[in-house]
């Protein structure tokens, strides 16, 4: 690693909200979540879609947790633990891609609207207003159903709506940066518009983008779970929402099969809450006045 790259990494670590105990807990949860997702194939032990039978070809349905099946089995004889681990994988995919898309679209729109002003600003901001008018869940259901309900289309549909918050915040930030003397200095020393926008302004709004990205991760995972739970999701992919839906449809709740529906539920709550904890930690670094 070159010294400058190491310096950059050091600065990134220094930027993590390590002082805040809640954010630290969030980071720990995230770290575990990402590790599980990356090592899903090793950790899962079994194929999450495989249906298991005993030696007598009887369905191994509704087994309680045990040494063989860590979290027991579903009513269809599938391994809950393997599903949970693979669910982490799809949650990570959904969260990260949605966050990247949301931050990408939102930041670009915010930068252009704030810096160009005038007609560009008006057009982009009215577009943002329209995005604010879209009812989120129905829109995602309709779009993903229309395109074909796979994981990517769900993510795409979410990103098409969620960029609106980022765009507004970034635009406001750009407006205030544009009035700063160092931006005028860049102009006075002959920087081009492109250079001012991407070299001088963009790096200064990036922390804010990261904050909104970390919030978008939680939203995306939550939304994907809701969609799957409602049965509009990708039936070919194991996700936590799908597990909940499966459990619900099999009346696991009324039958008290807690080892089936509790793990995915807890996993969703943990990961989403961890995202918000980290976001809050960042927020306090960005806006120290929020500290009560």
């Amino acid at each position: 690693m070159s010294p400058s790259a190491r310096g950059r990494l050091g600065r990134l670590v220094a930027w993590l909200p390590l002082r805040d105990p809640l954010a630290l807990a969030g980071l720990a949860i995230y770290l575990g979540f990402v590790l599980v997702a990356l090592l899903a194939d090793q950790l899962a032990l079994r194929d999450p879609a495989e249906i298991f039978y005993d030696a007598d070809y009887r369905l191994l349905a509704d087994l309680p947790p045990g040494p063989d099946f860590l979290l027991g089995t579903t009513s269809l004889g599938r391994d809950v633990w393997s599903q949970l681990v693979h669910g982490a994988q799809s949650a990570l995919l959904v969260g990260v891609t949605a966050a990247v898309m949301v931050v990408g679209i939102g930041t670009l729109v915010g930068l252009l609207a704030g810096y160009c002003g005038g007609l560009v600003d008006t057009l982009l901001m009215r577009l943002t207003d329209i995005a604010f008018g879209i009812p989120f869940l129905p829109f995602v259901i309709v779009v993903s159903a229309f395109l074909e309900p796979n994981l990517w289309n769900v993510v795409l549909a979410m990103a098409l709506v969620l960029w609106r918050d980022t765009a507004r915040i970034i635009r406001a930030q750009v407006l205030s940066l544009r009035a700063r003397a160092f931006v005028e200095a860049a102009r006075a020393t002959g920087s081009s518009h492109r250079r001012i926008l991407f070299v001088h302004i963009a790096p200064n709004v990036l922390p804010l983008s990261v904050l909104y990205g970390s919030i978008a991760v939680g939203w995306a995972i939550l939304t994907e779970a809701s969609i799957s739970f409602l049965g509009f999701g990708d039936s070919g992919t194991i996700s936590w929402g799908y597990m909940l839906q499966d459990a619900y449809a099999s009346q696991a709740l009324s039958r008290g099969i807690w080892h089936w529906f509790l793990p995915p539920g807890i996993a969703i709550v943990l990961v989403v809450a961890a995202g918000f904890f980290i976001g809050r930690g960042y927020e306090e670094r960005l806006f120290p006045r929020l500290k009560g």
């Binding site: 003397a181 160092f182 200095a185 860049a186 006075a188 020393t189 002959g190 920087s191 200064n204």
Partner: protein, 326 residues
Amino acid sequence: MKAETPFVVVEHLAKHYRGPGGWRGAGRLLRAVDDVSFTLAPGESVGLLGESGSGKTTLGRLLLKLTEPTAGSITIAGQSLAGLRGQPLKAFRRQAQLIFQNPFDALNPRFTIGRCLREPLLNAGLPRAEQGPLIERALALARFTRGLELLDQHPHQLSGGQLQRVVIARALILQPRFVVADEPVSMLDVSVRAGILNLLRGVSRALGLTAVYISHDLSLVRYLCSRTLVLYRGALVEDAPTKALCNAPRHPYSQALVAAVPSSDPAQRRLPLPLVASTAEAPVGSGCRFAARCPLVMPICRTEEPPLVAVAPNHRVACHLGLPAA
């Protein structure tokens, strides 16, 4: 006027802004700069003096083509600024530089000092080999002795005085011939102001810069500038050698400005200001814009705007009192 070819020629310059209007019509017209004409000789240091809202900052921005005039023209080194774009505009930006009021805001907080200084060089497209000597030269001009460790620091690690010297170094790095400094010390602490003023005076003399110092502080202008332009609500009301302005101001507004400078001399102390207490400002366009506050106001002042006329060599005043009775 001097026989020398002027370096900056400003003719009938105006910048009007329209205030926010409702949906029923346009907003109020604000004449930030209104029909201002003057010339600057090469190597001259000139003060732009005025209160807040006098249009002095707008005039400075117009001179650097950071904003476009509503009317009138600016010619710098024989080149008109109107319609300047592309390569000629880049060439102009190399020649004309701005020194900022607030050094805490004038440097990109994410850049190192070295990067801040290199930025103008990159914009000018200078090869890397030429950059080093230019940076060293600029740092020496700004009186930095331990420049190299400075280059790796970020703006927040420097004191206000050091930051302002970096801002000055950045402005000088492309070896400009023309510099506009907007209130260069007003954000600085008392003990570092003197250093910056000494630096600015020394550098502009040593490099023969044509310099415009924008300030509301007459004593500062007195220290830096041989000539002063007094602006009042967008108009040039007096243009005089600074010494003459301080000793014998002609325009009643300049007289009030000079009288308002706190004096430690007990004899001059606590004389009443030669001003009429008035909060009502007459609308621009109907007579002299100072009439409402002027202690020497005459009937003609309320109906006719006085032209800027020479009352002595290198001394122009816009006041009916200085004119022979019509």
